[in-house]
């Protein structure tokens, strides 16, 4: 009898542990949304989004496609009133129709107000050093400063550097700066280094769960003209983070990669396109907004190292980064310098 009780207790313990391991690994993959849990979480997300809608005092228009994980709503036009606190209505999936292909900033129509540019390395941490003695920390700082100058010219955006000098800056502090300054975008600038191969390559990393999209296209209309920055809507965004952030960073990465590569090929037609990748970088992992790490050049390539010595080339890279960021923000609706 006692033995059976002990076995049953051990079995329960194992079940708890198995479930814990499963959830831990899902979290690691950025997939913390088993279907059962999604259903449970919807009302909370809905409540936040609906509260926002009430603030905006607007009417939402719906589409027709319905995701199977949401409760379908029959009306084609839904007028919002203050949600009852005890039982907030389910979020109509049709509100999110079309948002899959839309950047978060545009979905909320907020305008990105703060961009953090993070020149990699610094101080004691020189980063890579080319054969000619060029140090990664110096080049990326110069590119970051140029990028800031370019973006500063756009009055609506505040641009901050995690470091504006040659000093050591731990990864945690870089992330802390992004948090403290309510960044809306985070772009870390680095140079590649592949000593064993005489290649020049460009690649852009992002760290974000590649989860299902659940976007809020309609919310951009509610927020239009309300003036809040994305960081001020963090509470809502965080709740959508699992679904949204996973797509935002790759989108930003793709825009930057495309633009920087285009620029790189002007100088070196053979530059290799390594594309965008998920990368295990702490600085990206902990950023709470769309965040990418761009390897904008390759310092181990002697010809490229020589080119990086020229201010014109560095300015070109900064311009390409700027274009990539703008491309992301405008979702391809504008023509940029780099396309000329």
């Amino acid at each position: 009898m006692f033995g059976r009780f002990a076995r049953s207790r051990e079995q329960r313990m194992k079940q708890t542990i198995h479930r814990g391991i499963f959830e831990d690994n899902l979290r690691l993959l950025g997939r913390s949304t088993p279907r059962l849990e999604v259903r449970k979480r919807i009302p909370r997300v809905a409540k936040a989004a609906l509260s926002l809608a009430v603030l905006a005092g607007v009417t939402l228009f719906t589409g027709t496609n319905v995701s199977p994980i949401f409760v379908p709503v029959q009306q084609t036009r839904v007028a919002f009133t203050a949600p009852a606190p005890a039982a907030p209505p389910a979020l109509d999936p049709r509100l999110f129709k079309g948002a899959r292909n839309m950047p978060l900033s545009r979905a909320f129509d907020l305008g990105v107000r703060s961009i953090i540019i993070d020149p990699g390395h610094g101080g004691e941490d020189t980063g890579a050093i080319g054969r000619g003695g060029t140090r990664e920390k110096d080049i990326v700082l110069d590119i970051a400063r140029r990028l800031k100058r370019r973006l500063d010219a756009r009055a609506q955006t505040e641009v901050l550097l995690t470091r504006d000098g040659d000093h050591t800056l731990p990864l945690a502090e870089r992330v802390a700066i992004a948090h403290a300054d309510h960044a809306d975008l985070f772009v870390s600038v680095h140079l590649n280094f592949v000593p064993k191969k005489p290649i020049n390559l460009i690649e852009t990393f992002y760290f974000g769960p590649a989860t299902d999209a659940a976007a809020a296209a309609q919310a951009r209309r509610e927020n239009s003209g309300q003036g809040p920055g994305m960081s001020e809507l963090r509470e809502i965004i965080e709740r959508l983070e699992t679904q949204m952030r996973g797509e935002e960073s790759p989108r930003l990465a793709a825009a930057i990669q495309q633009s920087v590569l285009r620029n790189g090929r002007r100088a070196d037609a053979a530059v290799e396109d390594r594309g965008t990748k998920r990368g295990p970088f702490v600085v990206l992992n902990q950023a709470e907004v769309p965040a990418v790490l761009a390897e904008v050049s390759c310092l181990s390539n002697p010809e490229e190292e020589t080119r990086l010595g020229a201010a014109e080339h560095r300015e070109g890279i900064a311009a390409a980064l700027e274009d990539g960021i703008l491309e992301y923000l405008r979702n391809g609706e504008t023509t940029h310098e780099s396309k000329k």
């Binding site: 051990e10 313990m13 194992k14 708890t16 542990i17 198995h18 814990g20 391991i21 499963f22 831990d24 690994n25 899902l26 690691l28 993959l29 997939r31 088993p34 592949v194 064993k196 998920r278 295990p280 970088f281 702490v282 992992n285």
Partner: protein, 337 residues
């Protein structure tokens, strides 16, 4: 249970020094965690392989680019060769396990406790290419699972790169239940190397020789036996007594381990503290250090009665536990991983 004919469950212990695999088909294999690539065409002709592992790497180390990818228990971030080497180790281990054609592989991989999320992701990425579904757990947890010690137990897994401690209390251990120390096998090697350099400045020896001596003679406390090894002096082989240096190097890791153990146990309710102290298990290659179990037990005496034991098979304890977990994890979880 995931153990079906169309699925091969495997448990992998990815270690700094040695990596092992235990498979549901009965295969148990291990390799030293060294990977080597021939430096050029001639080297490739001589060694006759495109990739070498373990002992072969050390044997041909002058002809190959050597990579020991899991220094301090982590994949060295941003170093391509390091990630590539981890992939080669995993590919080789899975091949050694011999899944049948068309058979899916469900793998549980043990990594150091303190592995950052980034590192666990990097390992997932490296392993993911060679298996169909994958779970990453911490190494001491895998050992605890293998022993069925799911509650009121403390596992001390002394590996080459790290010493991992993990308290089990009936649930999946959280971050606060786990600690990683860098005082482990490699640390002892470094200490011993520097002590011997100081004592015998005219002798010539290398890190590999020092590591072999440590593995052969390591002890803490008292040992009646002499420890004499051959080291060349000006090209002439001479016998040297290294007993005092081996003892000093091995004992250099003890203060950190004892401190971590006492701090971790102190977090629990006194009633549970006593239970945990009665259930301390030493695992990993470090558990083979002579006199270590007795020393730890004595060191913990002032905190109350303690019972320290050693796992029977330190080389496979982690991979066996990982295999057990792979076999017992419900199928529905595997489908999503």
């Amino acid at each position: 249970m995931s153990q079906k004919s169309d699925v091969l469950a495997v448990g992998i212990d990815l270690g700094t020094s040695r990596s092992s695999i235990s498979a549901g088909n009965g295969q148990r294999q291990w390799i030293e965690s060294y990977v080597g690539w021939p430096k050029d065409f001639i080297a490739a002709q001589v060694v006759g392989k495109s990739v070498l592992f373990g002992g072969e790497v050390l044997e041909h180390r002058l002809m190959v680019d050597v990579c020991r990818p899991l220094q301090h228990g982590i994949i060295k971030e941003g170093i391509d060769r390091s990630e590539e080497a981890v992939k080669e180790i995993i590919r080789h281990l899975v091949e050694l396990a011999g899944p049948a054609a068309g058979q899916k592989v469900h793998a549980v991989v043990g990594v150091p406790s303190d592995s950052l999320k980034v590192n666990r992701l990097a390992i997932r990425k490296a392993v993911g290419e060679f298996v169909d579904s994958l779970v990453v757990v911490t190494e001491p947890f895998a050992v605890a699972y293998s022993l069925g010690l799911l509650n009121n137990a403390l596992i001390i897994d002394i590996g080459a790169g790290t010493t991992d401690l993990c308290i089990m209390h009936g649930t999946l251990p959280g971050e606060e239940d786990q600690r990683t120390l860098l005082q482990a096998g490699d640390y002892i090697d470094d200490q011993l190397f520097s002590y011997l350099q100081e004592r015998y400045p005219r002798s010539t020896f290398n890190k590999n020789m020092v590591r072999q001596w440590k593995e052969q003679f390591s002890f803490v406390g008292d040992s009646p036996e002499e420890i004499k090894v051959v080291m060349p002096v000006d090209g002439k082989p001479l016998l040297h007594d290294i007993k005092a240096d081996v003892k000093r190097a091995c004992e250099s890791v003890l203060p950190a381990i004892v401190e971590a153990v006492t701090q971790m146990i102190a977090r629990f309710d006194p009633e549970f503290q006593a239970k945990i102290r009665k259930n301390i298990v030493l695992a990993g290659g470090g558990s083979l250090i002579g006199g270590l179990r007795e020393h730890l037990q004595a060191a913990l005496k002032e905190y109350g009665s303690s019972q320290v034991t050693c796992v029977k098979d330190p080389l496979f304890a982690g991979s066996d536990g990982a295999l057990k977990l792979a076999q017992e994890m419900p199928e529905q979880y595997w489908e999503k991983l």
